[in-house]
């Protein structure tokens, strides 16, 4: 086990820059998620950490020691690949033993480790089978086992659950979480699935176009997204975001977009000099109330255009003046489309951004 530090990592393929100046610290024993849309560079970053891809600039430190000159094997990391990459001509036992044998581990130690890992992952009955005789979930476990059996300093996962069906993915996710808590190992986990990110991670690193947009614990990322990209990326349905301008009024600031005016929530930032500034205002669908609340809140008169009933929840696609707003409520019986509603948004539920920075 060890901590990981990335110092100003950049990566270019020919003239195409994939990673820009990535710096990140991962604490020993932390479960860190690299989350982002496809093409954001998260897999490339993982491969740089693994040593499978050399970085163009910057430094990778594992356990405080620079590993840039080391091969993937010498970095003492283990990787679980998206398609598992089990050796098809070897049995499960031989697959688990392979990395240890390459490191000249004594035979009896290998046997011991395999037995231990197989027991932990519940794959003991599969040891003499070939990968082609395993189900998707079993292959996934064997791939995990191959990583664990070596007891590496760092575990790297490249979308390991993306090939499993929904039910299996949920189960495996929970087991993975348990496993990590039990073993207390450092894990870096690449995914584009925000549910995996929210449930598994101690820290979520949100990436977009080769840059880190935010690196915070899941609840912090959800409650206080650092910029409009993170705000729109985390959460289902996504946060309502409106681009508009700031206006000074006697007694405070106002967000204005077309005919829509919203009093600006209490801010941490000093706004003087921001008159007429372009800003983005956001509110999560689940933070909007359809009954009046006691908290200080903003009232919006809305008409329901489309109503989607998800069973437990209902998604209302509404119009406020000319703006669209999505509201998520758990209301029984469901509210039909065409109705008019009075929405209230508590003051502290607004998110305000300016030039990719959070203002409140």
């Amino acid at each position: 086990m060890a901590d990981l530090e990335l110092r100003a990592i950049s990566k270019r393929f020919n003239s195409h820059a994939v990673l820009h100046d990535i710096s990140l610290k991962v604490a020993d024993g932390a479960f860190t998620i690299l989350l982002g849309p496809s093409g954001c560079g998260k897999s490339t970053l993982l491969r740089v950490i693994a040593g499978l891809e050399p970085q163009t600039a910057g430094e990778v430190l594992i356990g405080g020691r620079s590993v840039d000159a080391l091969s993937p094997a010498d970095r003492d990391i283990a990787m679980v690949f998206q398609h598992y990459a089990l050796y098809p001509h070897l049995s499960v036992r031989e697959n688990l033993a392979f990395g240890l044998a390459m490191r000249k581990t004594p035979r009896n130690v290998i046997e011991e480790r395999i037995a231990e890992t197989a027991h932990l992952l519940d794959i003991s009955p599969l040891l003499d089978r070939k990968p082609k005789d395993l189900s998707g979930g079993q292959r996934q476990r064997v791939a995990m086992g191959r990583a664990m059996v070596r007891k590496p300093k760092l575990f790297l996962f490249d979308e390991p659950l993306s090939n499993l069906d929904a039910q299996l993915r949920t189960n495996t996710r929970i087991e993975l979480k348990k496993l990590q808590q039990r073993l207390g190992v450092t894990m870096i986990y690449v995914t584009h699935d925000q549910v995996e990110a929210m449930t598994l991670g101690d820290v979520i690193v949100v990436m977009e176009r080769g840059r880190i947009r935010q690196a915070d614990p899941p609840h912090e990322t959800y409650l206080r997204p650092a910029d409009p990209f993170v705000a729109g990326f985390i959460g289902t349905p996504p946060m309502n975001l409106w681009a508009g301008t700031l206006d000074r009024r006697p007694g405070g600031w106002i967000f204005r977009r077309g005919g829509l005016e919203v009093p600006v929530p209490p801010l941490r930032t000093d706004l003087s000099g921001h008159t007429d500034a372009d800003v983005i205002l956001g509110v999560r669908p689940e933070d909007i109330r359809i009954e009046p609340t006691a908290e200080p809140s903003v009232r919006l008169e809305a008409a329901i255009d489309v109503s989607e009933d998800l069973g437990a929840d209902q998604i209302l696609h509404c119009s406020v003046m000319d703006e669209r707003i999505i509201v998520r409520v758990s209301q029984r019986p469901p509210i039909p489309a065409g109705r008019r509603l009075s929405l209230s948004v508590p003051q502290d539920k607004w998110h305000l951004f300016h030039e990719n920075r959070r203002l409140n």
Binding site: A50, L52, S71, P72, A73, I77, A78, M79, F81, Q82, H83, Y84, A85, L86, Y87, P88, H89, F98, G99, M102, R103, K130, P131, K132, D133, L134, G136, R139, R146, N163
Partner: protein, 271 residues
């Protein structure tokens, strides 16, 4: 239904057409001299191993077989030993001008043998390679390498790159990745290339005739061709020798067929 019947008939006709000359030779090899020369021709032989005895013992066929095994075997081994690493590099490593190199290989394999016979003979004469087995193996390897490299490179390309990355993380050098992971998985391709090379070297006539003039060194096709007497063609002996020359190839293909199964790499990736 009618379509399938037509297809079956077509296949049967094709197979019969291809096998007919061979069958005729096989039947001839079991005839007596009188039956061979009978007019109109007789279909069914009365049986007998006479021609086989003559071919094996009077014409020393086994010596030619031994020469052929040495030449074809060495050619195959050498072609694979050079072709496998070359194909792996061409399939996986990013090299400038790789496409040109592969194209060049293909071009080389298209040279008419007649055009290079003279230079090859002169070169071998200079290095005392005439009338030696290695003198024949050398050009054979050169001629078969392009096809070996092409077959193997396409096999290596098909294998998932994740497997090699897993091997690197597990501690394999490039050479170990090739021998421990990629070779077992490319086995069908390797057997295919091996069989094609072996058959080529086993059957090749022109260069063998050019390079091997001493009877003791000559390969099977030469040996059989030189059966011909001064005034008569010994059809019976030729037939028996040809059957004997073909049998090892047929046996080898049947034997290796079990290995040339696709889908060996099934289960490597999600599947």
């Amino acid at each position: 239904m009618a379509q399938r019947l037509l297809l079956a008939c077509g296949i049967a006709l094709t197979v019969a057409g291809s096998l007919a000359p061979f069958l005729w030779f096989a039947l001839t090899s079991f005839k007596t001299q009188a039956e061979v020369e009978a007019v109109p021709p007789l279909w069914w032989p009365s049986g007998g191993w006479h021609f086989y005895r003559v071919a094996l013992f009077d014409h020393h066929l086994l010596a030619y077989v031994a020469n052929s095994v040495i030449v074809a075997g060495s050619t195959t081994m050498l072609a694979l030993a050079i072709g496998i690493p070359a194909a792996y590099v061409l399939a996986r490593v990013k090299l400038p001008g790789k496409a040109w190199f592969l194209g060049g290989l293909l071009t080389v394999s298209m040279f008419p043998q007649m055009a290079i016979a003279g230079p090859v003979w002169r070169l071998l004469a200079d290095v005392q390679g005439l009338n030696t087995h290695w003198g024949l193996v050398l050009p054979y390897v050169t001629f078969s390498l392009p096809i070996v490299v092409w077959i193997l490179a396409s096999f290596f390309r098909e294998l998932p790159a994740e497997l090699e990355e897993a091997a690197r993380v597990d501690g394999c050098t490039t050479w170990q990745t090739l021998t421990k992971i990629m070779l077992p998985l490319a086995a069908p391709g390797i057997f295919t290339a091996a069989i094609l090379t072996f058959i080529y070297a086993w059957n090749e006539f022109f260069f063998a005739l050019l390079i091997l003039t001493q009877p003791g060194k000559q390969t099977l096709p030469l040996g059989i061709a030189l059966f011909q007497g001064e005034f008569t063609i010994p059809w019976g002996e030729l037939a028996a020798a040809s059957v004997l020359a073909t049998l090892p190839l047929v046996l080898m293909v049947l034997l290796f067929q079990r290995w040339i199964i696709s889908g060996l790499s099934a289960g490597a990736v999600k599947g």
